[in-house]
Symmetry: none
Amino acid sequence: MTLRILLADDHAMFRSGLRAVLETQPDLECVAEVEDGRAAVAETARLLPDLAILDVRMPKQDGLAAAETILAQPGNTTRVLMLTTYDSDEYVYRALSAGVSGFLLKSLPPEEMVSAIRVAARGDAVVDPSVTRRLAARFAAALAPAARNPDVAPGIDRLTAREREVLLLVAAGHTNAEIGARLFVGDETVKTHVSRILAKLGLRDRVHAALYAYRYGLARPDGD
Amino acid sequence: MTLRILLADDHAMFRSGLRAVLETQPDLECVAEVEDGRAAVAETARLLPDLAILDVRMPKQDGLAAAETILAQPGNTTRVLMLTTYDSDEYVYRALSAGVSGFLLKSLPPEEMVSAIRVAARGDAVVDPSVTRRLAARFAAALAPAARNPDVAPGIDRLTAREREVLLLVAAGHTNAEIGARLFVGDETVKTHVSRILAKLGLRDRVHAALYAYRYGLARPDGD
DNA sequence: CGCGCCCTCCCCCGGCCGGGGGATTCGGTC
DNA sequence: GACCGAATCCCCCGGCCGGGGGAGGGCGCG
């Protein structure tokens, strides 16, 4: 089974270079090359590739916006790998929020690029080490205040780790299908999680679940 | 300049295997081997290695606690690489909060282990793809609100007084029928109001309407 | 008066949601 | 090995929800 890949970058030189790298691998097939974000979205919808490799900077629509559009499609199965020349905090946060499967620098050696593509295609995520470092620091900083939160949410300890994860996504306003796509599981599974959450916390529906999360500071309304 | 490394794992077999891998690299030197967390902390303090490779599960004190102790030392210069057999969310969060430079599965191929060691030693971070995936999901759900901007509710002025009233009740978690009962109108009427609210504000469903209300301070999660 | 806006109610319909089952796999525990 | 919890996926079904219509009545304004 070959991996069908879409390539989006405004530099023809870079595209052909990457394409050449892909062609060294018999199981990787480049099904489309586009040079702007809008075309990336359109071609992804048309060809349904397994993976879309998007440059952050592109004309008409940048790669971040394109990634958000693609990953927000109901029933989307295309994973997204973001590429950038220089890393930047905002880009990373926005990309991860959108649910991309990878965030890499263009300076990555070809063989590592290939392995990253395979990782992303199977649903795992790969982030450049220099980016991971700051991500980890940010994560640690944001986790510290959460640890010393006074008002403890009643019954939250009865939830499993996965259920808490789903609860936050519900609170962010996502549908079951979207949550499934973001967590790389079926929407049926998400339904089960949501049902258990509601039962364990004694809540009526997902709106109340969202209120619960906000009331006890587990989530913020502006954190989509 | 050689990298001085401390190895902590309770399985002698694994230690010798990893040590053998390290010895294939002229610039990597294993300065100590220990089999429990307490010894890892003590030897790190004594030998001041550049890198400590800690298994999560160890007798006396686990790798997480050891990492926290080591990294919390004032003036510490030893980076920490965590290893685990099976990944688990809590482990990762706790490890990253402590400030480790890497979190890898023991199943990692030797050559990748070596490259990860170099990444960690230079201060960047490396996280196993399967772990990164869930980390990204968690990040998207919980951390994104870090970069936010408060505003005046856009489009709120386009709502009629009645619609604003309904919006608050939706945000409080009421169903259309409940809102109808409270306002002494039919639930059909409430449906119309809700539809207009969603259309005017460009929102998708009542959950997003609730988020909108909280985000712009129109309502509070604890104010029913 | 005619017009527009708001509130109210109604019908159809497709889709998401939540409850009720059940099933499997995988770890961990006893 | 037996048992249990967690996570994943599956089916059925009734109900709420949201979109797209339509259709009255009240109220203010030119």
